[in-house]
């Protein structure tokens, strides 16, 4: 089990940040991803593998109106 934006979320072995974003349908481009507090740049989304128990934050910087 991992945490995504403080909620529990099922973990799958080998899931990357990109996999997670696709599953959650987090399509907004203007995001900041941190895994266990470490910033993951966009270039790394395909490569960064999420481990069981990781704490993932996907901060959407939505300006709104």
């Amino acid at each position: 089990m991992i945490k995504v934006n403080t909620d529990d979320y099922p973990w799958q072995s080998g899931m990357t940040v990109r996999n997670l974003l696709d599953e959650k349908v987090f399509t907004f481009r203007h995001i900041i991803v941190r895994v266990n507090g470490e910033y993951v740049p966009e270039e790394e989304y395909e490569n960064h593998v999420i481990q069981d128990g990781d704490d993932v934050i996907v901060l959407h910087l939505m300006a709104g109106g």
């Binding site: 399509t27 203007h30 959407h60 910087l61 300006a63 109106g65």
Partner: protein
């Protein structure tokens, strides 16, 4: 054209550190013109812009004043940073008056050239009071120190014709057109309460007059009631430092840094330069947040037909400067050129449509079940030229459509208009009726609060259902964001002082997606900081969008990326550089809070600023109908389990709806308590004398209003 009724000569005050030091007062009943001092007291307590507007308005009215009383005023002010050219979004005026929809003060912001040119003509603020006998036009010539009041019956009513004619009238030649700006409404302002003010600016590349709007609250209805056809200002000679800033070097440096950031990053972030605010339409739909069919759901598969790409590729001219004041490289006021109108009095004409903004695509589009970009653009055009606030019109029409869908009103009662969701022909016909004051158009512009009463009393509609689905608070319609699952945004809308406009707070993603504000205290802190920060812009002449619709490349490394700290610092630096003061980020919030609390007390004074006025219709808080519950069943059933320990498997749908409702309504009450505490209000929503004293606003006139309510 018309007879000149009055001429007034004056010596335009020189601007020092962002202030001319003078405000203009005109009474259109007796044509009295006065020059008033802008005092140190005003600058200290109210800063400028909306602050000055509200102060003058407070002194003009009594608690008995209604929107159409002669003593009601329209006040316009741009603020000390207004008119600088070096940063983006520096031409915003704020306008205040008592609103026909809410009966309390409304404040509304608009771009365009009027505000800065007004200040350069020597006026920090402009008060209009009284009601004229015949329609008037007021012209301010800031180069020659001349004010003319002219009879104006012969001029056209609709904005796109009126402003073009007036701009040409006062400009010497083509190059002079940019030096003229017009404030006017449109024909529909004669017939409803949601009339807006258009603020013009001339586009020298397209060679057309264009508009931004001070749209919310019915200011155009007030302008028409006062029989003022238009306000015109002319000032030639805009230079980089007309504000006589204390430190032009800092302004230049910060400006160049910001422009470079815009050049490098906008296309990778929000593409404001290509599409403007409508860039969020697809995202909102993908996150189930695009208001659809009167806020019933959060999106629709057909939204793809009104996506940003469709507008960029097929309708909006690309690559030209589209800022609504000099220096704005965010350049987000996109438009559709040579657009062929197919309905109404201008059918067959090709026009420039200013938009669509996000609110237009969401409001006149998905919230009405319309997914046709051409129809949306035509609706946008007619709202602007007829002078109709398209947010109020969209949310009110969505309400009408749902009432019709649910059999609460009949087609006959709408004069034969088939106003069902998706029928853009009927929507356009309704707009034309509003312009002519005919048919159902006479009722449609009165707003949801008045329509609820009429539908119940005259058409026998179900009062509880209408209360639940009529999206208004304090009489003002909601702006176009679906927020049923965001308690923070529910509070941000319903507890906003003027009514549910999102200028105070936009917390939906922070709350629902990022889950950054889980507790009541977190939400209350957000509903303190963000309204204070976001309303500061209106005191000083700035647009909010450049603050966070683009962020620096390293913003993600900061402690609080949602606040965009580097941009907040830019604003502090520019404020100090113009005014010569030495404020910091905390003082900025304090400046804003002074006016914020003043506006709340002003609303209390006018009869609508207490707890009872801060409640939301249930459509804002949760699922009203079975279809709404079923559209998010998994989520709602899970919440019954997790939050209330109930077993949804063994509950009837109506019981699940009722239990969800009672839970959410209780949550909202608890949020109110937390927010009121944080804002320094009593449990009845009244600002306390202690809080007012803390921020230096314990003025005797404010204490007099709140004392009996404590």
């Amino acid at each position: 054209m018309g007879a000149i009724l009055k001429e007034y000569r004056y010596t335009p005050a020189k601007i020092e550190r962002g202030y001319s030091g003078k405000s203009l007062y005109i009474n259109v009943a007796d044509l009295r013109i006065e020059e008033k001092e802008v005092t140190d007291f005003m600058k200290e307590k109210f800063t400028g812009g909306k602050g000055f507007d509200l102060w003058y308005l407070w002194n003009a009215v009594t608690p008995q004043t209604r929107w159409n009383s002669p003593e009601n005023e329209i006040v316009i002010s741009v603020g000390p940073l207004g008119g600088i050219t070096q940063y983006s979004g520096t031409g915003k005026s704020l306008v205040c008056s008592i609103s026909p929809l809410t009966d309390i003060p409304i404040d509304s912001n608009a771009g365009g050239y009027f505000g800065p040119l007004l200040k350069f003509s020597g006026w920090d603020a402009f008060e209009l009071q009284g009601k004229a006998e015949k329609e008037l036009l007021i012209f301010i010539d800031g180069n020659n120190g001349l004010i003319e009041i002219e009879e104006a019956e012969e001029y056209p009513d609709d904005a796109h014709l009126l402003a073009e004619e007036l701009t040409r009238k006062y400009a010497r030649d083509e190059d002079d057109m940019v030096n003229v700006s017009v404030v006017c409404t449109g024909s529909a302002a004669k017939h409803g309460y949601m009339g807006l003010l258009n603020f013009s600016f001339y586009d020298p590349r397209r060679k057309v007059v264009r508009f931004k709007q001070a749209a919310r609250g019915g200011l155009g209805t007030v302008l028409n009631d006062k029989k003022i056809k238009a306000l015109v200002v002319k000032y030639k000679g805009v230079t980089p430092n007309l504000n006589n800033a204390a430190d032009i070097s800092t302004i230049n440096k910060v400006g160049v840094k910001y422009h470079k950031q815009m050049h490098d990053l906008d296309s990778k972030q929000n593409a404001m330069r290509q599409i403007g605010t409508a860039n969020t339409v697809m995202i909102m739909s993908q996150y189930d947040l695009l208001p659809t069919r009167n806020f019933q759901t959060g999106g629709d598969p057909e939204v793809v037909n009104i996506s940003p790409e469709v507008f960029i590729n097929e309708w909006l001219t690309q690559g030209l400067h589209d800022g609504c004041w000099y220096g704005c490289t965010m350049s987000c006021a996109k438009c559709a050129d040579h657009f062929l109108l197919t309905t109404g009095p201008y059918a067959g004409d090709r026009v420039t449509v200013d938009g669509p903004e996000y609110e237009c695509v969401a409001g006149l589009g998905s919230n009405l079940g319309i997914f046709d970009p051409q129809a949306i653009l035509e609706e946008n055009f007619y709202c602007d030229t007829y002078g109709i606030d398209l947010i109020s019109f969209a949310t009110c029409t969505a309400f009408i459509m749902e009432c019709y869908q649910r059999g609460q009103i009949t087609r006959e009662q709408m004069g034969g208009l088939d106003l069902r969701f998706g029928n853009s022909d009927a929507v356009l016909e309704l707009l034309h009726q509003m312009s002519r004051g005919e048919g159902f158009g006479r009722l449609a512009g009165l707003g949801i609060r008045n329509l609820k009463k009429i539908f119940v009393e005259d058409f026998g509609a179900d009062p509880q259902l209408l209360e639940d689905i009529g999206m208004e608070v304090k009489g003002l319609e909601y702006s176009e964001y679906a927020h049923k699952e965001s308690l923070a945004q529910q509070g941000g809308f319903a507890m906003a002082t003027k009514g549910p406009q999102h200028d105070e707070a936009w917390l939906i993603f922070m709350d629902m997606v990022n889950k950054q504000i889980p507790t009541f205290e977190d939400k209350a802190n957000a509903l303190y900081y963000f309204p204070m920060f976001r309303t500061w812009f209106g005191l000083v002449g700035l647009c909010k969008l450049p603050w966070n619709d683009i962020v620096p490349a390293d913003n993600h490394k900061t402690d609080s990326p949602a606040k965009v700290p580097e941009h907040v610092q830019n604003y502090v630096d520019i404020f100090n550089a113009v005014t010569g003061q030495q404020i910091d980020k905390d003082e900025l919030i304090l400046q804003s809070e002074r006016v914020y609390q003043f506006q709340r007390v002003f609303s209390v004074r006018m009869g609508k600023g207490e707890r009872a006025d801060d409640y939301a219709p249930y459509r804002s808080l949760g699922p009203v109908s079975r279809e709404e519950y079923l559209s998010r069943q998994e989520l709602y059933d899970q919440q019954l389990r997790d939050l209330q320990g109930l077993d949804p498997e063994n509950m009837h749908l109506d019981e699940k709806i009722a239990r969800t409702r009672s839970y959410r309504e209780d949550q909202y009450e608890q949020l109110m308590d937390a927010v009121y505490r944080r804002r320094g209000w009593t449990s009845n929503g009244i600002p306390t004398p202690e809080r007012l004293k803390e921020i230096g606003m314990d003025l005797p006139e404010l204490l007099e209003v709140i004392k009996p309510k404590l």
